[in-house]
């Protein structure tokens, strides 16, 4: 697997005409400033992005082959590569089991096995490793980050990368695994489990073929880092050849749901929730209990957040008398001492930070809600929260609203590793998922 993500040299097989897959991959590799050698290989002569195009790979030393040639030519190329000791290939080309060509897919799998070569794909969008500037893919280049994303659908993978770019969200590795004729989900999470750059693993699955193998691996992997899954096809009817009552009730989605729970995989509804949860998990892999302290300068958003937290089974519980007494000493007389801690117009940087510190002894996580007012500087508050983050020792989540008014403050929060969510409800969902997941550790 190392050759896939840290190759010293990459050969790209495919058409090098502008707009063709081979061309696009070379472009991504060059513009992404890959640290090793890049060999475009094609019948057309000349140069591409200042690199010579080679007619074949006879005299080249190749760690990783990226293949985007017509499917019928692939078996003989694989034989060649295999007999010259190339151990890893990514097959971008389509035309295999996804269109019913099962035999053709079996053939390439057999060739790979014979030469002990590993294959990602076919019918995929390629792979990336932001750490080594490897962008062997047709999709937009991922920004560097700590989330690995592996996807069965190449198209969805591309869309997620584009959304991530908008959100300034980075990835460690990206793998579009397509038809997974060889390297499958279990192999990938097993590799990522020990990848130091990856803190969170995300996966988009349409269907597993070897469910048991995946579960066995996932159970081990989640002990080291969280796995977040999106499983498509929630509403597929459970149609099975069955004669028992149980069989008739067992829809495919219910089985996946059970499998994920059992393995400790966090299931999310879609891409938005996946990003939300990643941003939380990267900073806070655990929340120890279900008592959440809400600090706010505004009543409405705090009520919405509290409702959601309680609906999800978390507790926005009242502080003890001794904690109230401590707060009384620092806060003006008409500020409520209950949870949510509504600082009203006194919600300046100082009070946000001091209240967070004081209540951290009785709560398991803090949600800091802030709505800008004319007299208060949101960025100052963000900085103050950031500075006390280490001392507080429990996770702090933020819900600074809204939009451009708090843009600078959100940047400041990010600098200190405090995730901000546009609404308290979204934040509540993240807190609940992390808390529930923490029980397995």
């Amino acid at each position: 697997m190392k050759n896939f993500f840290n190759p010293r040299s990459v050969a790209i097989f495919g058409s090098m005409k502008e707009g063709k897959t081979g061309f696009e991959i070379v472009k991504n590799m060059v513009e992404g400033e890959f640290k090793g050698d890049i060999y475009p290989i094609s019948q057309s002569e000349g140069q591409i992005f200042g690199l010579d195009i080679y007619p074949d790979f006879k005299n080249l030393d190749i760690d990783l082959a990226i293949i985007a040639i017509p499917s019928q030519l692939i078996p003989s190329l694989l034989e060649d590569l295999g007999s010259r000791g190339v151990k890893s290939a990514v097959i971008i080309s389509a035309g295999f089991s996804e269109v019913g060509n099962f035999k053709e897919e079996k053939d390439i799998k057999n060739i790979a096995e014979k030469h002990r070569m590993r294959i990602i794909g076919p019918n995929c969008a390629g792979i990336m490793n932001t750490e080594s500037n490897l962008f062997a893919s047709i999709e937009v280049r991922a920004l560097p980050g700590n989330t690995a994303f592996i996807t069965q659908s190449g198209a969805l993978g591309g869309a997620v990368l584009m959304m991530a770019e908008e959100l300034d969200f980075g990835f460690s590795k990206f793998v579009s695994y397509g038809n997974r004729c060889d390297v499958d989900e279990a192999d990938l999470i097993s590799y990522l489990q020990n990848d130091h750059q990856t803190q969170v693993i995300t996966i988009y699955i349409e269907g597993l073929t070897e469910g048991k193998k995946f579960l066995r691996q996932a159970k081990k992997t989640v002990l080291k880092k969280p796995i977040i899954a999106i499983k498509a096809g929630k509403h597929e009817a459970g149609m099975r050849a069955t004669s028992s009552h149980t069989g008739s009730l067992a829809g495919e989605d219910k089985i996946y749901d059970a499998a994920f729970r059992q393995a400790g995989i966090l299931r999310v509804e879609g891409v938005e929730e996946m990003f939300d949860l990643c941003r939380g998990l990267i900073y806070y892999p655990k929340i120890k209990g279900n008592k959440i302290g809400v600090i706010t300068n505004s009543g409405g958003p705090a009520v919405l957040a509290t409702d959601k937290l309680e609906e999800l089974g978390l507790m926005v519980s009242e502080p003890s008398e001794s904690l109230k007494n401590k707060l009384k000493k620092i806060l003006p007389p008409h500020v409520s001492l209950g949870n949510p801690f509504d600082l009203l117009a006194y919600g300046g940087a100082d009070n946000f930070a001091r209240v967070s510190e004081i209540i951290s002894s009785e709560y398991d996580a803090i949600l800091a809600i802030f709505v800008p007012t004319a007299s208060m500087d949101s960025t100052e508050i963000a900085t103050a929260l950031g500075k006390i983050k280490e001392e507080v020792k429990i996770p702090i989540f933020a819900n600074f609203m809204a939009g451009r008014l708090v843009k600078e403050a959100i940047g400041e929060l990010k600098k200190y590793g405090i995730p901000n969510y546009e609404t308290g409800e979204r934040c509540a969902r993240v807190i609940q998922k992390i808390y529930k997941n923490s029980r397995y550790k």
Binding site: G207, L208, T209, E210, G211, K212, L215, T242, S243, S244, H245, T246, G247, L249, A250, K254, I255, D257, A258, A259, R261, Q262
Partner: protein, 226 residues
């Protein structure tokens, strides 16, 4: 392979209710004490062995929907009534399916109504054997309030799948009823999982219904398909 399964396999059929219950008993799963009656004469003296009132059901590899075949009678008071019911059940079964091979009639004490639950095992093409749990009756039929887990089942999984259903509150006791024996349900889930894993020839199991009481439970009906 278990001898019961071997025999059924040889005869190219699934397990009879009596065989399924025999297997359950071997795994320490509680079922009401039962007998297989093969003739009217065998009813004489039955009251000494089994507490009346009893339930009587047709046992035939060719009749799956026993109620449709007029093959289920409950609350039979004494041996005299049992003889009449026996004749009725055999008659109805033959009317329902002329060619049906009839193994006999199973008799067991009618168990007082408990909270109904249903437990099942099936094989998923990707995950292998899977276990299902739910409350019986409308909860499973209409509301589909059920939970699943992939085998093998760990103790934690068993607890979670009971907790997870919306009707969990009913098991904890509602409207003045005491809490039901949740520990017994957990044990049943674990034991039936073990049974399924140790007898891979069984492709599907339905325990429906199971009556749960404040103390203990009883598997009332069991189907095992090879």
């Amino acid at each position: 392979m278990h001898t019961i399964i071997q025999k059924a396999k040889k005869e190219k059929r699934s397990l009879l209710e009596t065989e399924a219950k025999e297997l359950l008993k071997e795994y320490g799963i509680p079922v009401p004490d039962f007998r297989l009656i093969k003739s009217e004469e065998e009813i004489t003296g039955l009251a000494k062995e089994i507490n009346f009132p009893i339930t009587m059901k047709i046992v035939s590899p060719d009749i799956i929907h026993k109620t449709d075949a007029g093959g289920v009678k409950i609350n039979i008071k004494d041996e005299k009534e049992a003889r009449i019911v026996y004749q009725e059940i055999i008659f109805e079964a033959k009317k329902y399916n002329k060619k049906a091979k009839i193994s006999g009639v199973i008799v067991y004490p009618t168990v007082p109504q408990g909270t109904e639950i249903i437990i099942g095992i099936m094989k998923d093409p990707h995950f292998g054997p899977v276990i299902m749990f739910g409350l019986g009756g409308i909860f499973v039929e209409v509301l589909k309030d059920i939970s699943f887990r992939i085998l093998p089942l760990e103790e934690r999984d068993a607890g979670e799948m009971i907790n997870e259903i919306k009707g969990f509150k009913i098991l904890k006791g509602v409207r003045g009823e005491g809490p039901k024996d949740i520990k017994a349900i957990k044990n049943l889930l674990l034991k039936i999982s073990q049974l399924a894993l140790e007898n891979p020839e069984i492709s599907e199991i339905d325990l429906n219904p199971v009556f749960v009481f404040e103390k203990g439970l009883q598997v009332i009906d069991a189907r095992m398909i090879l």
